[in-house]
Amino acid sequence: MNILIVGVGGQGTLLSSRVLGKYASLTGKECKLSEVHGMAQRGGSVVTHVRMADKVYAPIITMGEVDVLIAFEELEALRWKHYLKEDGHLVVNSQKIFPMPVIMGLEKYPEDVEEQCKSVKNCHFVNAVKLAEEVGSAKATNIVMLGAVCALCNMDKEIFAQSVTACVPAKFLELNQKAFSAGYDSVK
């Protein structure tokens, strides 16, 4: 299984990949992760690759071979959706963050992002920020997204929840557990 997590630097994509890495090890799969540190973390476009299978070679996913694309931002979904397999899942957090060229009025944020995303056969928008705020804090947006991914891709809920528990700080455990369920239930 190949999962690509995309978003804007600072949105907490690294935690999501850590949870997925845990999920892989709990399900007995070999796993490789590839992340971005450094420059792009300053508000740039960031991407994390997660691969789990019996044998994994490359730490990054080849274009056209992504099973699940988790997009924390709509424009980033658009930027990366060509990485998806024909029947891959696109799970998008309904949130728009304007990049500097748009803020400055040099370029336009495409108005039809949603339509373009929906040209993907399995496309799901999740109002993850709102769901996270409802359970306590927008900080848990990433875990809401993972809950939705778990449900949409028929991953093992029990093991997934365990992976979340193992990766989040103890004092935010309850918040994140609620966030996970909220994401899961929102698409079930």
Binding site: K22, A24, H37, R42, G44, P59, T62, M63, M100
Partner: protein
């Protein structure tokens, strides 16, 4: 115990297991996490040095004194540390020394994509290159064995894709080593012509010995004979892509990048109809093979630039058409909302200064709309270049400002400043002191008062330091008070001697807890605030600006430039 580990963490684990006692490093993507992880082992002393040259000298000192040591840096850091590297190849070691150098093909976070393998060759130092986290750990340990057996420093090379990928590592126990006895030996350790000449002979003999032992080094290079049609020579991350895209090809996986086992590759090539070298950046393997009469393909197919990925191999070998991306506006990195650097560049842009810039978060002052930076070369270059501008045209001294970060100033800006004073320049230097090494993820440095291990320590006083360099005009301003920043810059540009302005305010990301938010009431749409390039300010279709409350941290810089007093703090 098996664990999913970042390769940089696995390198730290390898150092721990190998009994390393001293690690010195300067941060640099993608190498930074090695030292950060090493610092977590109580048995291993790890420190931030002010620059890579010092880090390597420290590691040399410790290894000569008898303990296994490590120095870590990014590729351009090895340029800074090249001086001790080349002569350290002559002295050799006592206990083992491994130098980790992390290359960045594709320039994810760098100002160039030089190929460090050439350092191994020109300094005559062996170099290993792993393909995943587990192998990185094993190569660290092998590196120490080779270092001690052949009495040489050993380079370990990674690239961004290896350094920043995670895979499973099996952890083992640490070997606790007795310190080796230090015996004074000037002919070995005190390099001056009479001693260095015989040491150069040693270097050559050592390399020849290692070359003839290569075939006995089991498992460093791996040969996988599969199909007969194609044989691929590759290393590092590229090996993984080759396995992915060419599952039937025979592969010679190079683990020892230098010296290259040319004879083994010649043997390998006899098993296959065609030999292909797939390597990122320079034709390092290819040229050596060709020079030794081995026919192969390589850079006739692949570029010297950027990364090679599975897609590249598919495109070049099978002409596979890749899916076309949707058109989407780019999302370049930006200064964070609340970044103390922003206001300084706003003023420099307004004053139309020539800004010789430097490397750090503040390099983003070159991006629109601030667009305030003229040059970026390498760490520390801002001050030297400003002096060069003054020399070329004395008029430039009245409008040139060298802008440098606190960590970068301590890394290699001080010598440039001394040069300005010594050679009677009249220019202006600004140190943007945000109390951290921001760009690489907030590391401590000699002016933060904390060590890598988190202990309290002396903090270098930048004001006193500049004064001690001979600068009489040193002023300190608060980066958020842009009116004052502007006044001081104007004043210092006109001063008939070198001046230093320290613009001080801690990095916004260091502040924890709830932050205030600004709000715009009755925006007139003049867009004066949009010149700040703040990601929290968004111009709507109606031309009016609003504030994104999820990003705003209430720095109120926008309020200071608003002509209509429309921006207020809400909470």
């Amino acid at each position: 115990m098996k664990k999913l580990m970042l390769t940089n963490q696995a390198i730290a684990q390898g150092a721990y297991e190998a009994g390393v006692k001293v690690l010195s490093a300067y941060p640099g993507t993608p190498s930074t996490e090695i030292a950060e992880n090493a610092a977590k082992y109580p048995e291993l002393y790890a420190e931030w040095a002010p620059n890579e040259k010092v880090a390597l000298e420290v590691a040399f000192g410790s290894c000569v004194a008898g303990v296994r040591s490590m120095a870590c840096m990014k590729h351009v850091g090895l340029n800074v540390a090249a001086d001790p590297l080349f002569t350290g190849a002559y002295t050799g070691v006592n206990a083992g020394l491994v130098i980790v150098v992390a290359d960045d093909p594709g320039m994810h976070s760098s100002q160039n994509e030089q190929d460090s393998r050439f350092y191994a060759r020109s300094a005559h130092v062996p170099m290993l290159e792993p393909s995943d986290s587990q192998e990185a750990k094993e190569f660290v340990k092998l590196g120490y064995e080779l270092s001690e057996k052949y009495d040489t420093p050993v380079l370990l090379r990674t690239t961004t894709r290896i350094a920043h990928s995670q895979s499973v590592v099996s952890c083992e126990d640490r070997v606790e080593l007795e310190n080796k006895a230090y015996v004074k030996d000037m002919r070995k350790y005190a390099m001056m012509p009479a001693n260095a000449r015989p040491r150069h002979v040693v270097v050559e003999n050592r390399e020849n010995a290692l070359k003839s032992d290569l075939k006995t080094l089991n498992g460093v290079n791996k040969v996988e004979i599969l199909g007969k049609e194609l044989g691929v020579v590759c290393s590092g991350a590229v090996y993984q892509y080759v396995k992915e895209v060419l599952p039937n090809a025979s592969v010679f996986k190079v683990g020892m990048v230098y010296p290259l086992d040319i004879e083994a590759i010649r043997e390998f090539s006899k098993n296959v109809d065609e030999l292909l070298v797939v390597e990122e950046l320079e034709p390092f393997f290819e040229n050596q093979l060709k020079a030794n009469g081995i026919t192969c393909h390589g850079k006739d197919l692949f570029s010297l630039q950027g990364e090679i990925t599975a897609e590249t191999i598919k495109e070049k070998l099978f002409k596979t058409a890749m899916p076309v991306p949707a058109s989407a506006p780019v999302r370049p990195p930006v200064m964070c909302a609340g970044c103390p650097h922003r206001g300084v560049f706003y003023v420099l842009n307004k004053l139309k200064c020539i800004v010789t810039g430097d490397i750090g978060c503040y390099t983003l002052g070159a991006s629109a709309p601030l667009s305030a930076v003229d040059t970026v070369l390498c760490m520390g270059a801002s001050i030297g270049m400003a002096h060069g501008f003054s020399l070329a045209n004395p008029e430039y001294a009245k409008k040139t400002v060298a802008v440098i970060g606190d960590s970068t100033f301590l890394h290699s800006g001080i010598t440039g400043l001394i040069n300005c004073v010594y050679n009677k320049d009249t220019n202006t230097v600004m140190i943007l002191d945000n109390s951290t090494t921001g760009m690489t993820g907030h590391q401590e440095h000699p002016a933060t008062g904390k060590t890598l291990k988190g202990e309290d320590t002396v903090s270098v006083d930048l004001v006193e330091l500049c004064k001690a360099c001979g600068v009489k005009r040193v002023s300190v301003v608060d980066s958020y008070y842009i009116g004052e920043v502007e006044r001081v810059i104007k004043e210092e540009l006109n001063a008939p001697e070198v001046s230093v302005i320290i613009a001080r305010k801690p990095c916004e990301l260091l502040k924890k807890g709830a932050k205030p938010v600004a709000e715009i009431d009755n925006c007139k749409g003049c867009k004066a605030c949009m010149k700040l390039g703040c990601p929290a300010l968004v111009a709507g279709a109606d031309g009016k600006v609003s504030i994104d409350s999820t990003l705003c941290v209430g720095c109120m810089l926008c309020a200071k430039v608003c002509k209509f007093n429309s921006i207020k703090l809400v909470k």
